[in-house]
Every structure is written in C-alpha cells, then in structure tokens.
Amino acid sequence: MYWEPDKECLDREELEQIQIERLQSTLTRVYQHVPFYRKKFNALGFSPEDVGSLADLGRLPFTTKADLRENYPYGLFAVPMREVVRVHASSGTTGLATVVGYTRNDIRMWSNLVARVLTAGGVTKDDVVQIAFGYGLFTGAFGIHYGAERIGASVIPASSGNTARQIQIMRDFKTTALVSTPSYALLVGDTLQEMGIPASALSLRYGLFGAEPWSDAMRREIEGKLGIVATDNYGLSEVIGPGVSGECLERQGLHINEDHFLVEVIHPETLQPVAPGEEGELVITTLTKEAFPMIRYRTRDLTRLLPGTCPCGRTGRRMSRVTGRTDDMLIIKGVNVFPSQIEHILFEIEGTEPHYQIVVDRKGAMDEVTVLVEVEESIFFDQMRRQKEMMDRIQKRLAHELGVHVDVRLVEPKTLARSEGKARRVIDNRKL
C-alpha cells in the first residue's frame, strides 16, 4: 500500500530532476528572505545561481543547532509571521528552545508525508489510531495526528502518560494502531501483563514507533507483548517532525521521503561525505518547506544509507535505524536532554560541587535517570532534613527545566570518579 504511489515510486532520474528543481528554488528563496543564509552565502562568495547539480550542495555551509539558538526565536523563518499558522519547539541545552514554524502549505505537505509513513507501516482509513505522544510544543503528536486524519483513520489523541487509562481506551475504543515511543510501548506491554489482560483482548494490529533510538531485540519484545507488527519512523523538529522517513512492512530500513528532503551522510569530524553505505552523521536539506527551510542541517544522528532497492517498490533510498548521536544528547522518554543542561542547573544551586554524574538505566520498559551530585561537606554533617530539602529542590528544578523526571542522589565530596582529560559525565546503562 502506498499513499502517493506516483511520488513514492518515482524513477531515480525523475526524482533527481525534481530534487534539483526544488533545491534551486529553495536556495533562491532563502537567499532572498533569510539574512542568516544570505550572509553565510555571501561570506563564501556563493550565489544560489551557482548551483547546477545536486553535487554543488557540498559547497554550502552546514546549519547547526547552535545557529538555530542564535537566531531564537524566529530569525530563520523565510516568511513573515502572518503566513505562519503553527509554531512548534524542541528543548535546547540552556533553556532556549529551538523554534520552528509552518505555513498552511507546510502543514498540508507535512500531513501528506506522515500519511505516507503511516500507510507504509500498515495504517489505513479503517484503523483506529491511538497517539500516545505528548500533545504540545513537541512535533510528534500533532505531526502524526494530522497525517492519520489525512488518511481518514479515526484518531484518538490520548497524549502521553496514565498507562492504565491508555490501556482502558485501547480496549474500549478498539484501538488498532498505537503510535508512541518504543519504550512507552514496552511499558504498555508490561502493564498489560500486570493487569492480567492478554494482548488478544485488544484489537491492536500495528505499532508505529519513533522519537527514540531502539533495537530489533526491543522490537521483537514489543511485538510479542502487544501482538502487533512494529515499524520504526524518524523525524526531527528542526527539519519538520515525524515524516522524514519510515519503515514499510518489509522492515528493511526507513524509506526517506527524498522528494522533500535531500540527505547526505558525513563524517562528523572531517565533515566530508562518507563512502556509500558507511555510517556517519545524517545531514538534511529541506526541498519544499516554506516557513522554515533548512540548508544542510546537521542532525547529529548516526545512520547509514542502505544499498539496493526495497521489495515494496518504493524508490526512496533507505536509512538504517539511528544508532546513536554524535553529541552527548540523551533522549529520555522521547525528550531531548543535554548533560550541559543539567550542569547548568546544578551550578545555579548553592551548596553543590562542580562534580556530578548522570546515570541512565532502563528499568523494565522505561528510562530512569539518576543524577549523582557531590555536595559540600557541611551538608552531610547536617541534619537529614536539610539534605532532603536540597534533593527536592534540585529534583524539582531539573524536572521543571528538562521536562522529564530525574532522580537525584547527593554524595559526599570526592566520591565520584575523577577522570583525566574529558570527564565521563554520562553513564548510559541502557542496552538498546
């Protein structure tokens, strides 16, 4: 099943024609409308007219998360605000979010791309789709929501959390497709068992999971526990949100919507393209976005482009599951967390030492984060009450600023291992 067969199965030559047309017009527009890009291009002596082939893209500068932050909130928008009908944001390292916008056309295009990904993952208009992503600034929930509606499926905007209620909805509303993070799907599976409800009592058939790295082992576990076929999909808010790529039911890599996104894989240090099929950092250029075009955005996600074609008939190249990140960003329950964010908060709290460690574990299905903080000796000699107060204060601040709950443990000074050179701040015990 395809959503837009004429676009998902284009022959390569025609696809490349469309890509170069769209690249040329996108570059012309960003040069005209976004001072950030104009300045960058001018500094390189580069004019949009210099681009005659897709290979010329390599001459353009990269765009990074830092560029987005420096242009907070609307600096990289290519249209006036009156043409923007939606704004989303993702968490940043220092409390500054990165803000993205959509025109009416962008929303329509985005819905279509998500519809492609959902269709590839088995969803049809006859499905009842339960979306267990948090509705809010995060692009996941609304992106999937509009795509599922576009298909004509029945959408249940369940949002995240309250697992027992999710399961009740799932059972009573006869949900056939679950959209969530993979870790949440596992939690749903475990909770089902605890509640003594067999998967066969549900109507679930498909699960579409994303926003978090996961593995094939985890896929098998989720499929077993929920009695579904699970597919992986990928996207990021800086580029559009969900809808960049997704697996079809062959599950041999994620088909990239290449008529809308130009992808490159580079070596994260040399910034040169890797050999075909090798792993590297994914770099994306948007080809059709109006409000928030991105030129060579460094996603920091590690993946590789798979050789050969997929038996499903889609011609879009496939990327492997994202295996990790080139920076130290942690994805906890779908929320982006940078260790530097935690550090920043700790430094603001009186009585803490500049030594801390972040331990990430997976207990059952869910990620658990514990922050170990060295505190001044005086606090340890003090009463329990003061320690407890301090723990609560740190915990609240972190939860508030990170948007995700973390445990805090206070430790005596000089108890955390000191390493020479680069401190090992993060201990990730998750086996994905």
């Binding site: 024609q17 047309e21 012309t28 005209q32 949009p48 249209v79 025109t103 009416r104 329509r108 109006e290």
Partner: protein, 245 residues
C-alpha cells in the same frame, strides 16, 4: 516528456534566463507564472528554438533539442502557439490551418490531414463556420482559436501556449481554457505561460513561478494558489486589506 536543466538564454548582453530547471510529465498541464519581463516568453522561445540556448540542456523525450532550428523542434513534436496569435491575416482560416500541417506533408502523412482538419473543426466549430473568411477579419478570440488549431495540425506531443488569454473577454477566456483542459483529456501535454495566474493555476496540475529569470517556487497548482506570496504578487489579492474587513 520535457526536462530542462540549468537553461540560460538572453538577448545580447542581457541574460534573461538564469539556470532554469523544470520538467513536464506526459499528460500534464504545467503553467509558468510570473510578472512582465520575468522571462516567461523567452523560456518558450528558447525551447522552441527561436532563441538560442547559451547553456544548459533541453531534453524532449530524452533527446536533446537544445539549439535545434525551430522547424526541427516542431518535427520532434513540440509546437508553440505564439504570443499575440500571429495568424496570417491575408489568408483564409482554412489556409492558415493547412499551413500548420506542413510537417505532416513532409513526413508523408499528408493523407491524414483531412482527418486532422476535421478534428480541429470538432474542437473549434466556429472555425468551420468561418473557414473561407480571411483570418484578419476574425475577432481576437477566434484568432486565438485559429492559432491553437494551426499548432494542433502538427500533432504535437507537447503544445506550448504563450499568453492565450491576452486581450480576450472573460467569456472567451473561459472557452479557450476549456479547450486546453480538453486537449489534456485527449492525451495532450500542455505548457502554459500566463499572466492570468489564477485562471492558469485553476486548470494546471503544477506550476513554476519565474522571477527575474529564476524559478523561485514550484509546486502543485493547489499549493501555489494557497501560497500567500503568490497570492499577493500574482493573484492580485491583498490579504492584509482583506484581514481588516
């Protein structure tokens, strides 16, 4: 059907088209919209071989037609209905139509010409009525029909039309556009250059926006119609004023 890459052309030292890249699939109506002087007519003339291409490529049915003489382009199956009709005023309607069959005679398909005339008379019954009249005595709308009929006589795979609505009354424009839609229904492919962007996008599948020789936007007609920049610049809608109402 038509695939253009990095096409550049112009007049003397003036570069009119700057790395224009676009394509048309068989069976599509594609429109080029843009202001006066954006390069729309130059683009059609360059494809038709009336204006030399300075660089880039024009592939028609995967074969390069860049810088072929105009008659060869017509032989390949690509005809132009020029801006301002350009019918031969002192000749009759029928003679004008027959001139369009020139390539058919050369191809030894002269025998089919009678059927082809019947076909264009089927599309434009008015021309049959005025068959023996001098083309110069026709109304603007009738001349436009004649120009299209003449182009159709070469049995083009791709028909390019330059401002077919220019100077015509709204009712006549509607007729002409109905004919364009009909041509597509009968398997034709149309490249339509229009200042009347709303009407053109109304019947087109896709469109390109040309601005000072560069394509600044492309997309499905529906998308371009709902793009506010296009609305402001080419559809004559002042949304800010509307918002205040």
């Amino acid at each position: 059907m038509l695939r253009i890459k990095n096409l550049e052309s112009g007049y003397g030292r003036l570069k009119v088209l700057k790395k224009v890249t676009m394509h048309i699939r068989s069976g599509e109506i594609v429109t080029i919209i843009g202001a006066n002087g954006a390069g729309k007519t130059s683009l059609l003339k360059t494809i038709a071989g009336l204006l030399p291409a300075r660089s880039g490529e024009i592939l028609f049915d995967t074969k390069d037609i860049g810088n072929l003489p105009p008659e060869k382009v017509v032989f390949r199956g690509c005809s132009l209905v020029p801006e301002g009709r350009q019918v031969f005023a002192p000749m009759t309607v029928r003679e004008n139509i027959l001139l369009g069959a020139y390539t058919q005679y050369r191809n030894g398909k002269g025998g089919a010409v009678r059927d082809d005339i019947e076909r264009v008379y089927g599309i434009f019954p008015r021309l049959r009525e005025r068959e023996r009249q001098l083309a110069g005595t026709l109304s603007g709308g009738e001349q436009q029909m004649l120009a299209i009929a003449r182009a159709l006589m070469a049995r083009p795979k791709l028909i390019m039309m330059d401002e077919p609505s220019m100077g015509l009354a709204p009712l006549v424009i509607r007729d002409i556009f109905a004919v364009i839609t009909r041509l597509r229904k009968e398997g034709g492919t149309v490249l339509l250059v229009e200042q009347n962007a709303r009407a053109a996008l109304g019947i087109a599948d896709r469109g390109y926006v040309l601005e000072t020789g560069r394509i600044i936007m492309e997309g499905e007609a529906e998308e371009l119609l709902s793009n506010r920049e296009v609305q402001r610049a080419y559809l004559g809608r002042d949304l800010d004023a509307e918002g205040k109402m």
